[in-house]
């Protein structure tokens, strides 16, 4: 079993009302070194068996078809590694 992470973020030119609301709230709370926030989604995906190239490809495809809407979002697939 392996864990793959898919990060989905709105494309930079797409309005991100949530990020805007968050950064405004942070400013009110006095966190003023934070100048911008964009909010996206993080999916932790468990893949059965060994993480072959084919399986990783499947995750990529899943990301492009279902997890992200390529019209407004970009995504990034990566194999989880300890931080």
């Amino acid at each position: 079993m392996a864990r793959v992470v898919v990060d989905v973020m709105l494309k930079p030119e797409i309005l991100d009302p949530q990020g805007q609301a968050v950064v405004a709230a942070l400013a009110r709370l006095g966190f003023d070194s934070i100048t911008a926030v964009r909010q996206g989604k993080r999916f932790e995906v468990e893949v059965d068996g060994e993480l072959t190239d084919a399986r990783l490809d499947e995750v990529r495809q899943a990301a492009g078809t279902l997890l992200a809407n390529p019209v407004i979002e970009d995504f990034d697939v990566r194999v989880e590694s300890a931080v």
Partner: protein, 225 residues
Amino acid sequence: MSTRIGVVTFPGSLDDRDAARAVKLAGGEPVSLWHGDSGLKDVDAVVLPGGFSYGDYLRAGAIARFAPIMESIIAGARAGMPVLGICNGFQVLCESHLLPGALTRNAHLHFRNRAQSMIVESTETAWTSDFAAGQKIVIPIKNIDGRFVADDRTLDDIESHGQVVFRYTNGNPNGSMRDIAGVSNAAGNVVGMMPHPEHAVEELTGASVDGLGLFTSVLRKLVAA
């Protein structure tokens, strides 16, 4: 002199006028409170109304919890002032840690609007003394983040201390743990509920008039005090 009940307007509050109407129909004097102010205008109790404060961005209630008015409300609540959080107001009270638990996305992931049956489990709070224990009432729900969650210890704890105020019956509309629709703090002055009693105060427009009981309860208590 009539009893003054404050109704807070956050940016994105929607049911503030309706809460004020309910206070009035119950015989109280509604006083509007603005999120950006810190004074409570000498009100005797506060209602945090439903809506989508700050668009419910981030998490429902998370941003409103830090509004200037909340400092006074949190202090008042700790000192025993009756506070009722309805829907978004409930979410704000949980985010403020005045109430246990949290409200998360409905298990079916949809917004749900319907007339909902529930049981009054506790009549010991400032807001429910006009009901009979075990009374079945019908009040509309309308939310997408209404699923009450808490860890098992917290759930056992609030159940054993009578802090579960309302429980859904005839079907759980959102996957709330232990069918919980509303809870109170240990002292019973702070109550949060997902259903909307302010939308059950007139036969003409509401699902019932069962919601009036919350407002008459607190008014009776305040007059007696």
